[in-house]
Symmetry: D2
Subunit: 331 residues, 4 copies
């Protein structure tokens, strides 16, 4: 089963939200207190997805707000360098700073992030900086949940969804839940439900769907009944190492395994998953294949040092899928 | 043409939003600088509508947050006194104050209001203070636009709309636009559009619809095309002394004249209009009649000193309508 | 013993701080919930002291910030009307409101105040609105403790003290402690100590001195040792109905009794005390006499409805003192 | 001429204020946009001075507030490692972050800093976290001007000065002016004057004294007249490459040249100057010698990569002084 897009659009995907700086520990397997050097990368979920998509060959654009400083200029220049249209990345004029994420890699499965998200520029994107003429050129508008966390980015994002619906642009909602950005779970649930009910495709972990529904231990069955009664027709629910599911409104269900890899750190898995899944879907591949692309891409990124810089190309993804299918065939 | 409600509900209308204090100049026709005495009344658009509806005989409830002080207790006691269910009016525990409106009555058509709306209790109503079990008992959930102006009242209101839709409660949206409460027109437009698109009935002045559409000199034709493409099926658009229109999704259009009166001040016209219109609609009267009820009620209130205390009963409204129809018949 | 002032100055006293609105219950001896009418007066400790001083015949000026609205204009006009120089009362341009105090007169000794002090204009007086050329024309700069509660009024007040010291203007510090205006007792103590150490005369209740020293049950003996080791040479410590003491650095101690009266409410006692005490001191009366003036003035104001409007003239004060001295002589 | 201290104290110097993180560009001589790796050091003026003093052999303590995260723990551990008493460095419990300074080294004389100072932990030091029992053990309390920039650190610092004066601890005020931390120049001037008037020793650049006096192109002569009329008895005024002056209240004036060096970057010069000057003064050296120590130490630090880690020991400082005196002797 394939998913249909409006093909007469200039951009495959336009993402909206944060583009930040990751400062990744150069020295691994130790507490951050003992890390003395950090490498700089572009980060932030929607930026990573745009970068990953662009490296896979999609035509990507980005709507966001950048600090008027060296970090902001680095981000714009890097994203432009990988082929993203940055014409709608505006520069903040009120002194807000770029969000930062210092990563600590204690061990492959013990990673933590020290965030600087206080009054960051990306959350100051304003509704009047979101342009209908831009959005209507896209097949997909990619929303990241974190962009809903604070005003005026919240209103800019709601406006973008409204304009996308009006112009038959598919809304893909990556839940991307970061608790430190929100005031309360109740507030998160209000905005997650609001946008999910208007989205065509929703992607998230089971835990993130629980946040949206403001419940504990939610069931996929209930989630799909809820969202399919609104406007969604494709839901991806990820269950970590147990793999991920895609539910179509038509009733079909697809499942993909997680690919084993030599894990260096856990960051970036969700973003690489989303970018490869979107690439495959927009390229006209079967939903089932798209899930494999997502899993393979995630698997590659967690074995490398960065999130954005490590985004794989199509050959790497397909090689990993092929290798795993051989293994499966043998076993 | 009548408008259908779900009749097996305990409450005719539950309003959500602010309940405040009006301090009306005892001495008229002078600048407030020279006013030395003020009379205290309950005020705030949704409180006034609930009070007006209750005095007309509807079973009304209210969801709101009150300051933990003498003004808050006065409001609760007054509203309970006119028959409103106050079980969902919660008391603020963080020291926020009751909103105040000092009115100046310079002349019948030169009135101004000096507002105290900084960090007021009503805007601190939180999503977890909005109960599904309460809302689902209502025929109508009445939303006042001002409740959307600030968090967390904004999220509480969005949640209330969501719960109303889920439980087949009609959502009536009184636009009630107060510029001083909002950060920007762009932000207002985002939330007004969001709620109007989900409402069944929208009531406002032409100017207020322009705010919702973020345009100047909007046309009723465009407004009804826009909102009828979403969920609304009845729109009331008021044009001041030129009268008001009701547009039904079925295509019918109704018009009512404004009734002439001895105007004392202009405050309270919109609230008394809404309460009488709702009363007539819920009582099973024709839409055209409901418009007359609204106009007559507004006409009565602007001839008196307060907004809430002056809300008329059915006899007064019907007497005014009858009197005017005689005049029209003669002319 | 008399207190010396620099007599070649145009103003007897320039006060700095808040000028607000009191809304006094017209109906007495009932809870505010049942009060339906309020009378408007100018209020705020330093404004009341300036008004009281001016009515007694002192040449007074005022440094403060007023809301750009009807309440602000009323205050300016009223203060000008009683003879105060208002040339240094600036108008706020950022939408801040006038502070309000609703008074409840439950019984003569059960009074409470419902304050509106959120983001009020008086606390936005900025350092650049305090002029050395103005301050240096005064015999006395009167500081009210509440002006230290928030920035930028805090810095404006510290600057005013600095300019007064530089120009040999006596600094009189009325502690005027209002807990709701402050973040913490610790913060209050820091600024109260800072200003008290630089003041020539300090006036307050025993409780207010305790706040300044951040202690409980402080002793006058310790307080005078502490402040006389800095720059003060006259301290007035009030003990309510037990009367008040004046301590001079020279070692002399004076005491005055509180005068019995028919108390209507307790508001305004401190302000009327300070204005009459200052009047007597600046007029060259003995410190002991000045204490009597303070007590008599307080006694008169608590028997009347307002704080500002009720400020007595010299004849009333002297009549009350004379009457009491006859009574004492007889007993 | 020597400067006298109270020698029966356990600590030579206790500094109060910020301890932060510097992230210094590993790659030099390029814009930060092209810097891909950053090295982590402890930074912040009073922390650097404490570290520098401690490395020179003084017994140092520190009063400050640290983020409850990896950066906060690194700072505490590093400072403890160089011998500083950290018993009065408290941990923030409200989620505030460590201040950051990313340095850009474009060329030896074109350096810039990208600061993260929004809601940082050090500015949340509260008055009740400043202990009299600790301060009274010190010969010197070192105040950094930036600690005055925001509440509650501002009040904590004013309280510390008050306690130092009360206990005969010399107050040394390093003006350390950072414009981005302050709301306005007027506000800065108010607090700088307040603390400078109570300090025994003030150290700053000519530009910083201008900020304190809220003037342009101030003269040293006026500055010393002003501050010597209050409590100061030693002022150090630095004029960049033209050298620095020390003015004693007794009338003596001392001057020191800046030492030539191979400059790598300009950061850290002021802090290294202050630490070596204080070391020499407290060690009983002549004021003139102390100035040379300051200059030599500054010269060494600007030739190295960090501010804190590069703080020299006594041998390095004395070697540089000796080398320069030979050169001077020859010329």
């Amino acid at each position: 089963m394939k998913y249909e897009f409006n093909n007469d659009r200039e951009f495959d995907v336009i993402a909206i939200g944060r583009a930040c700086i990751d400062l990744n520990a150069v020295e691994y397997n130790r507490p951050m207190e003992e890390t003395m050097t950090f490498s700089k990368y572009v980060g932030g979920s929607p930026a990573n997805i745009a970068i990953g998509s662009s490296k896979l060959g999609l035509k990507a654009g980005f709507i966001g707000k950048l600090a008027d400083d060296q970090h902001g200029r680095f981000i714009k220049s890097y994203m432009q360098g990988v082929g993203i249209d940055v014409s709608n990345m505006v520069v903040d004029t009120e002194g807000h700073k770029t969000g930062l994420a210092f990563t600590e890699i204690l061990s492959p499965d013990e990673c933590s992030i020290l965030m600087y998200r206080e009054d960051v520029a990306d959350l100051y994107l304003a509704p009047n900086e979101v342009n209908e003429d831009y959005i209507k050129q896209a097949k997909v508008l990619l929303i990241s949940g974190t962009a809903l966390a604070k005003s005026p980015s919240r209103e800019a994002t709601i406006k973008a969804v409204n304009l996308a619906k009006k112009n038959n642009v598919k809304v893909v909602f990556e839940l991307d839940y970061r608790p430190y950005t929100w005031k309360s779970k109740e507030e998160t649930a209000v905005y997650y439900a609001l946008v999910a009910e208007q989205s065509d495709v929703v992607i998230g972990t089971r835990d993130e769907y629980d946040v949206m529904e403001n419940i504990v231990d939610g069931k996929n069955e209930d989630t799909i009944n809820y969202l399919f009664s609104h406007q969604a027709d494709l839901l991806v629910i990820k269950h970590g190492v147990e793999g991920s599911y895609a539910y179509a409104k038509s009733g079909e269900v697809f499942k993909a395994q997680a690919y084993k890899t030599q894990v260096l750190k856990t960051f970036g898995a969700g973003d690489s998953y989303a970018s490869a899944f979107l690439y495959a879907l927009i390229s006209g591949k079967e939903i089932e294949t798209a899930l494999k692309y997502g899993s393979a891409s995630a698997s590659i990124v967690v074995s490398k040092h960065s999130s954005s810089e490590a985004m794989p190309n199509v050959e790497e993804i397909e090689a990993l899928i092929a290798k795993n299918e051989k293994i499966e065939a043998r076993s």
